[in-house]
Symmetry: C2
DNA sequence: GCGGCCATGCAGACTGCATGTAAGCCGTCG
DNA sequence: CGACGGCTTACATGCAGTCTGCATGGCCGC
């Protein structure tokens, strides 16, 4: 939301060439988000005090108030940054061909393994303390489940939805509304990420999770 | 935890015949839990103030402090009650044969449909504002994911684990560690419940969710 | 180009409310 | 009758959110 103002200014001036005043403001804002990201990930949303956050960011509480009137606004900004970073990592891990062309006739041998590879990449990208705590654990409670689901869908559901729709069109997924199935698949990935990250033996847990995922997602006809 | 003391006293005396003072204590405690259950479900854990809770329960904050030193202790008690009530409802919905004998040779036609029926019953039982908010949304953030998972597994994972193990033994589930797959299945049910409860059209959503669940869980070999 | 006005970004104190604490009372049970 | 458990009351502490003050950069009239 508050992004929009900077975007609006950016429409008039290139962000990098912003005047000194606005540049300082963006730096302060960035420092605040970075500090909050760290403290939120360490202690969780409610245990993280604004006093500590501004101390880490080396700004005052007044600056925080100016940029983020409510603590929840700050959390939202952190949430979006962590999410988009995770998606970026997942996209990188999935390989550059993730955005490549899609041959319909090669659906069963093409899109499905690719979707599975994307899911694994997503799973690995989500196995991070930041993502665990901010996105998967605190997110629903702080933002409310509905809003949380909307945001998570906005960021990560696109690929899965596309894969599911392709699968249904190609006939190797039972015909049905794509959205619910895609949501459930996304939730399974989230849960698998939490399982892996909280396991004593992450390597074994990751292998087990992938086997279980493959079991659930291999035959959807 | 605090339950144990009353259980210990119960071991010496029948709970119903407890002396007047202890009886009063248990009533206060029950009123506190009932009130907190209501307020937590309505506003969520953090928005619910102890002042409002004790007002609803018609006791003082001191009494609250005596029974539940920290707010988190109260939440845990509420959580456990909501959970166990939900399991009871699910067990009732699944029918009395849920605990019946298990014929090995009839595995594919016996235990699997029954497990699926259990899962549907669980899904329906979880479609309640109380469960949604207390157990599924606030639970992980308040208790921490690890503890939350442990509790949810303790209450609801038993049936699924048993079903999965039977499935593996009978050969219609791909051989693998049972626990991870069972956890993922449980998480899918939880997510489906959240989807259904938050949908504009719960009836359609429930049908879609069941189709999607069936798609994911029908062929696990 | 320069000097004054204005708004933005920020600083620091204040307030109200939340949970958690400590000391005292009172009835019941031993 | 003593004493302990259950409860009450008053207090302390720390939090997010609010308000006022300030100061510097940006803009416009001259």
């Amino acid at each position: 939301m508050t992004e929009m103002s900077s975007i609006a200014t950016g429409a008039r001036r290139p962000d990098s060439a912003a005047p000194a005043r606005a540049r300082q403001a963006r730096e302060t804002r960035a420092a605040l988000i970075a500090a909050a990201r760290q403290v939120f990930a360490e202690k969780g949303y409610h245990a993280a005090g604004t006093h500590e956050i501004v101390a880490v960011a080396k700004v005052t509480r007044g600056a925080l108030q100016h940029h983020f009137p409510r603590k929840e606004d700050l959390f939202l900004a952190v949430f979006e940054q962590v999410q988009s970073d995770m998606i970026a990592r997942a996209a990188q891990g999935a390989g550059p061909d993730a955005q490549g062309p899609d041959v319909e006739g090669d659906a069963e041998r093409g899109t499905w393994p690719r979707l599975k590879a994307d899911l694994i990449a997503y799973l690995q990208a989500a196995t991070t303390p930041e993502v665990q705590r901010v996105v998967l654990t605190d997110g629903p409670a702080v933002l409310g489940w509905t809003e949380w689901r909307r945001l998570e869908a906005y960021y990560g559901l696109g690929i899965i939805m596309a894969g599911v729709e392709h699968g249904i069109a190609a006939g190797f997924i039972r015909p049905q509304p794509a959205a619910p199935l895609a949501h459930l698949i996304l939730s399974v990935i989230d849960e698998a990420a939490l399982m892996v990250a909280n396991a004593q033996d992450p390597v074994t847990a990751m292998r087990d999770a992938q086997v279980a995922l493959d079991t659930m997602l291999s035959h959807l006809a």
